[in-house]
């Protein structure tokens, strides 16, 4: 544990206890005064990303002991990690995020976890998305409930878009959201569409879904919404981006190809003046049980594709990037030690990234628990010291101006002890 890390954490934590209410009002007032329209992108990394590989604690002596030949080298060494704050490094595949950190546009959170303490991907993702402490406790997601509370959140086009054919749990709920994915098929003629709309009039689900889809298509078709090559047919559904293993794909798209397309679509929606403010997409393939690799290898390739996509997102958003916050989260971490098959099994705490022009970045926020065997959770995993909901609340409150009362009452019920982190977003 570096004392500096703990101080940094406490400082931010102190803001959180004192300044929560004021910050929210300030953020809202600021947005109203400057006409700034915040944009928020949530990226769900499904499969449990190894936080100790993405953000190696190079300053912790336990790290090399646990990871052995798979430990990333310290910044400055050949194939070493990218420098963060001297204690933590960044995986060398994450070049764009490294630059973002240097430009003070990235906050790295570590030893963070949702309230979920078992090791099932599927329950872990459910808790990550439903915003409660229990799997399957809610049919709606925290981001949707937050959107329903956002200032002006009732307006349809103000809500959010899920990039993909379907809407992930985190975006399901009372607020109107839509989903969008590129289509190879030709659109319907107006007459057929009118008749189908008619046919769906008495069907509460299909009528809403069809209207949402048509709205998303209109937004996507507006001038400047999509980069020219968005018209090109996709290789695969965006939700499957990043799944393909190098050398083995059944119908090989370039890894990151479909993902890059998803990212460009997200940017296309967000840079619209009156389009959705929130976009969500997911990537998979982080479940590295065997042959995970280190500076190079399986995980390195996936991280590089992820990083490249974020760089694309920044480029495509253009001037809107300065009003954007992108949050990357995963359901849980992986074992602190390498397992018997040169990979890692399901664990507990991990890292999260908050990047973007709106982010008060250039910091690692971590109350580092240490890696010696008595410091590990159940003797095997990184111990959580930060509730992910503190991060989520901080971003929702400062960036999207969600009232603290709504965060406590409906967005994250029964989460009083997880106080919003303040100061994550630039004033």
């Amino acid at each position: 544990m570096s004392a500096m890390k703990r101080r940094e954490f406490l400082r931010v934590g102190a803001w959180a206890t004192g300044g929560a209410l004021i910050t929210s009002r300030l953020a809202f007032a600021h947005a109203a005064a400057t006409g700034r329209r915040p944009r928020f992108v949530l990226v769900i990394l499904r499969g449990a990303l190894d936080g100790l590989a993405a953000v190696p604690p190079c300053g912790d002596r336990g790290y090399g002991r646990l990871r052995g030949e798979f430990a990333l080298r310290a910044p400055g060494e050949p194939k070493g990690a990218l420098p963060l704050d001297g204690f933590f490094g960044l995986h060398p595949s994450l070049g764009f995020l490294g630059q973002s950190y240097a430009a003070r546009e990235l906050i790295v959170f570590h030893a963070v976890a949702s309230p979920y303490r078992e090791r099932s991907h599927f329950d872990g993702q459910d808790v990550l998305e439903n915003g409660t402490a229990q799997a399957h406790a809610s049919q709606s997601g925290w981001l949707n409930r937050a959107l329903a509370q956002a200032p002006g959140g009732g307006r349809r086009r103000d809500a959010g878009v899920a990039l993909g054919q379907n809407v992930p749990l985190v975006m399901r709920g009372p607020a109107e959201v839509t989903s969008w994915s590129p289509s190879k098929l030709t659109g319907l003629d107006d007459d057929t569409l009118a008749r189908i709309t008619d046919l769906y009039a008495r069907d509460p689900l299909l009528s809403v879904r069809l209207a949402d889809a048509l709205m998303a298509d209109r937004v996507a078709a507006e001038p400047g919404a999509m980069a020219p090559d968005m018209a090109a047919p996709p290789n695969m559904a965006p939700a499957q981006a990043g799944q393909v293993q190098a050398g083995q794909p059944p119908a090989p798209p370039a890894p990151g190809g479909a993902y890059a397309e998803t990212v460009r679509a997200a940017a296309g929606f967000l840079r619209q003046e009156d389009g959705p403010q929130v976009a969500v997409f997911d990537t998979t393939g982080w479940d590295t049980h065997a042959n995970e690799g280190a500076a190079e290898g399986q995980l390195a390739g996936r991280l590089a594709a992820l990083d490249k996509g974020l760089a694309t997102l920044k480029g495509e958003l253009g001037p809107v990037w300065k009003d954007t916050a992108v949050l990357l989260v995963t359901e849980f971490g992986r074992t602190a030690a390498i397992n018997g098959t040169r990979g890692t099994d399901h664990g507990t705490a991990t890292m999260a990234f908050l990047a973007g022009g709106a982010v008060a970045g250039g910091r690692v926020i971590a109350d580092w628990p240490g890696l010696s065997s008595h410091e590990l959770y159940q003797g095997r995993d990184l111990t959580p010291t930060l509730d992910l909901r503190c991060v989520l609340k901080g971003v929702l409150e400062e960036h999207l101006a969600i009232a603290p009362r709504a965060l406590e009452a409906t967005v994250f019920p029964q989460s009083e002890r997880a106080r919003a982190l303040a100061g994550l977003i630039r004033a």
Partner: protein, 461 residues
């Protein structure tokens, strides 16, 4: 007017009515379903499909060639996908055709249910070549047998062992690990266990999350199945018949082990079989399977009484699956809410092909609809399989794609099909006046077909 029973039987329990099917079912549909359970499950008809051992044996040999070529500077990287992709396409096409043509669609749906329960996904190495043979070899022949046999066959199949990394899992006190420890230099780690398969068997295949197991059980069970491997690979899994199950005593963790509080003697391979047998009969497994079946066949939020009835049948008949299916057929809730289930893309495509008597034409990209509508066969992307509730599939973009695809299908057929004639034959008692009127008033035969496939009652089962 068709009876509601035959409509539900054909569309919810089956894969969508073919023209004339509702009339031939007759009665309330229950006898038609029970009769399908009588004979052995049908094999995939007519297709020349290779065994998993043959495919995997060739794939492993090819992989060695690729690696050797790389050492001498040649890039043959694409050879393996080029070998596997046609296998995937033939397998998935054969499965699709069987689903479209079968007269026992209940058995076909059950088969797809179990393959999804024991999911492998083609985005992992070799799975594109193995997913089809996994279904044909491990699942299909046992869907009318005993759950314990189905479980054992699925976990021992090379596809499952490779998909969940068990072929690399080595007991920390096994002869292999001890030898590696003696040779150890520097930071090189001795091989050890990989929890992946052990965890997913407990969480997904048997007890279910919350089914009463702990991390200790996961780790302990993972050591029980160390040595369950495949032959013909490289390094740890080199020896043995290529592409087939191999038990490797040298990699098996020796000793007595405890799983779920019960001790299992040091019997090598048999130790794993004993644990699996006990898992197959565990009350949590009965409840887990009952819940999934009820969610698939009754409603997204299955009625507790129905789950209870199925779990009781599962336990009472010792995991005999036809008895569980008969209990399902006898469950009143399965017949009370028509159209309670939103079709998956797979359901939607297969029922469209059945309803419109479309040929599965192997020469015309037969699998394209699955990709377009977001459910590529055998690619759920995770061992949990495809999700099974409306919210997972009813996205706005997904709906628009179905409607656009329906329109393309209508355009291809034009006046070669009569939607007004087909609507009552496909939708039976669930056909609404609104849909009937819309089809009757359509501007063209194409538009009428589009409206038939896009109708709210065709989107559901």
């Amino acid at each position: 007017m068709q009876q509601l029973g035959s409509t539900i039987a054909a569309n919810r329990f089956g894969l969508g009515a073919r023209p004339g099917e509702l009339a031939s079912i007759g009665g309330d549909g229950r006898d038609w379903l029970r009769a399908q359970l009588e004979r052995a499950p049908p094999a995939i008809a007519g297709a020349q499909l290779a065994s998993s051992a043959q495919t995997l044996g060739e794939a492993l040999a090819l992989q060695r060639e690729v690696q050797q070529a790389r050492r001498s500077g040649n890039d043959l990287q694409q050879r393996l996908p080029q070998f596997l992709k046609p296998i995937y396409q033939s397998e998935a096409t054969a499965r699709f055709e069987q689903a479209v043509m079968t007269g026992r669609p209940f058995i076909e749906r059950i088969t797809q249910f179990w393959t999804n329960h024991f999911a492998v996904s083609i985005d992992k190495q070799f799975m594109a070549g193995l997913a089809g043979s996994f279904e044909r070899e491990a699942i299909r022949p046992r869907v009318l047998g005993n759950f314990g046999d189905l479980l054992l066959a699925a976990e021992m199949h090379p596809a499952m062992l490779l998909y969940l990394d068990n072929h690399l899992s080595v007991g920390p006190h096994s002869p292999t690990a001890i030898r590696a420890g003696l040779r150890r230099r520097g930071d090189n780690r001795p091989p050890g266990i990989n929890e992946n398969l052990g965890r997913e068997i407990l969480e997904l295949h048997t007890l279910g999350a919350g089914g009463g197991y702990t991390q200790y059980d996961v780790t302990s069970f993972a050591t029980v199945i160390t040595g369950w491997s495949v032959g013909g690979g490289n390094g740890l899994w080199a020896s043995g018949p290529p592409g087939r199950f191999v038990f490797r005593p040298d990699q098996h963790e020796p000793g007595i082990k405890t799983v779920l509080g019960r001790r299992y003697g040091d019997k090598g391979y048999e130790q794993g079989v004993e644990v699996l047998n006990d898992l197959a009969q565990h009350p949590s497994t009965a409840r887990h399977i009952a819940t999934k079946l009820a969610r698939h066949f009754i409603a997204d939020d299955p009625p507790p009484a129905a789950v209870e009835r199925l779990a009781r049948a599962f336990t009472e008949f010792g995991g005999n699956l036809p008895s569980v299916y008969r209990a399902l057929i006898d469950t009143p809730e399965a017949w009370e809410q028509p159209l309670a289930k939103y079709k998956t893309p797979n359901d939607f495509i297969v029922s469209s092909y059945r309803g419109l008597s479309l040929p599965v034409d192997a020469s015309h990209a037969p699998l394209a609809p699955f990709e377009l509508l977001g459910q590529r066969t055998w690619q759920p992307g995770s061992p949990a399989g495809w999700p099974d509730t409306s919210a997972d599939w009813d996205g706005a973009s997904a709906l628009l794609k179905r409607v656009e695809w329906a329109d393309a299908v209508g355009g291809r057929l034009g006046s070669r099909r009569d939607a007004a004639d087909l609507a009552p034959q496909l939708l039976g008692a669930t056909l609404t006046g609104a849909t009937g009127t819309a089809i009757a008033r359509a501007a063209s035969a194409q538009q009428a077909l589009t409206l038939l496939l896009a109708a709210p009652e065709f989107m559901r089962r």
